[in-house]
């Protein structure tokens, strides 16, 4: 039987040794981890903007592609460009500095990516939605950080789910498959966003809003409702900016 003092001393020593080992490890790989995180965010933006996967294989190629083809800036809710350090903007809290990433090829806008973030069931979900230059149809949507249950809410990051936001393959009477794009604006041009529907989207003729709806995830209704809510909220913050791009082709 050891004395209390010995026990306390032993536990203390073990804690100090393990603590040192951990902080040493963290310290020596911190830079690499930060690079990975940064590349992951850039990769998400590029993916949502429909860049070819072959450009996104290494951190270096991601950074290069990002630098050469993305025009990153901040706007306010009025649609005016404001100064910002775009990497430091807290997209969840900030109301008046809104990051926007524009894909420009040959001086022409090819797509616009906007950060989206909001509560799911357990965690905040972070992602990007990219719109075509008409600022109506969706180019892509990607989620990169969340703490939802793998297999249930975690499915939001899967291709089958994100592909739903782009278009819906519809079989025509003549047997051909036509891809019907999803839209974030209604006929009058108002932003109505896209809703994640419990069960599945009703694609019959009578459901006129099916272009504003996507299939939900079974077992993850709360996560899906969260996505619906923050998608609308975040898109509305960019309404004036998007109107400007649609009408003038630039901000």
């Amino acid at each position: 039987m050891y004395s209390n003092n010995y026990t306390l001393f032993f536990v203390f020593i073990v804690t100090v040794v393990l603590g040192t080992m951990l902080s040493f490890t963290k310290d020596s790989v911190k830079d690499l981890q930060d690079q990975n995180l940064k590349a992951d965010v850039q990769k998400t933006i590029l993916r949502s903007l429909n860049f070819d996967e072959s450009l996104l294989l290494t951190n270096e190629s991601i950074e290069e592609t990002f630098k050469s083809s993305i025009d990153a800036k901040c706007v306010n809710v009025e649609g005016e460009i404001v100064d910002c350090n775009i990497e430091e903007v807290d997209i969840e809290k900030n109301e008046d500095t809104l990051p926007i990433y524009i894909r420009v090829d040959n001086d022409e806008v090819q797509g616009i990516a906007l950060p989206i973030a909001g509560k799911g069931l357990w965690s905040t979900i972070f992602g990007y939605i990219a719109l075509n230059p008409d600022t109506d149809s969706v180019l892509g949507i990607q989620f990169y950080k969340h703490g939802e249950t793998p297999g249930l809410g975690g499915e939001v990051e899967k291709k089958w789910f994100t592909d739903n936001f782009v278009n819906h393959p519809s079989k025509q009477p003549n047997g051909e498959i036509q891809y019907i794009p999803k839209k974030i604006r209604d006929k009058s041009g108002k932003i109505v966003s896209i809703k994640v529907v419990k069960g599945g989207v009703d694609y019959s003729e009578s459901n006129t809003s099916s272009i504003h709806q996507v299939d939900g995830i079974s077992g993850a209704t709360v996560t899906a409702d969260g996505v619906t809510d923050f998608l609308l909220e975040d898109l509305l913050r960019y309404e004036k900016t998007l109107d400007k791009i649609r009408d003038y082709g630039t901000i």
């Binding site: 050891y2 026990t7 073990v14 804690t15 790989v29």
Partner: protein, 217 residues
Amino acid sequence: MELFNSESKKIVSDPINVNNPISLQVLGICSALAVTIRLDQAIIMTLAVVFVLCSSNVILSLIRNYIPARVRIVIMLSVIASLVSVVDELLKAYLYDMSKQLSVFVGLIITNCIIMGRAEAFALKHGPSKAFLDGLGNSMGYGLIIIVVSFFRELFGAGTITLPDGGAGYVLWSIPESWYAAGYENIGLLVLSPGAFIILGLVIWIQREFAGVEEDA
């Protein structure tokens, strides 16, 4: 002590076969179900568990004569938790995509019953070299089963075989399109947890048959 005498061999080979932690003792099932969706995840998970179990066994065996019995569980947990955190940090730095896929399950190695179990049952009673061999045998026994389970789950569930490659995984083989055109379909159930239970159950059955183990009635 000679490293490769028959006793040492037994320490390594028993947990791989006749005393397998998963199929015979049915320990460490939670992660065995969770990380067996794809082969590459199972392989990386195996390496992580081999590292953690071997190191924790050796470290605890080295200090076994100094650990006050009253606080031994706390000490074991701190050592194991620190090692797992190190693995987690290294994965985030060097295998970022893989660490995203494995998500919480790397951290959950801490609660893997095999690791605490081997520390308590073996490492605290034996010298470091034996403890190392015991760790190696048990982690490989664990790895063998999850690699077999994940192989079948991925092959029949998703139609691919993926090896780890530092990025999002290298697809070694996938079921050709012509099979799908001919009417072949993946078994979606296998990708979900019930599929893991079914495959694991079959593996346990076959492995016990093979090892000649019978439960007392």
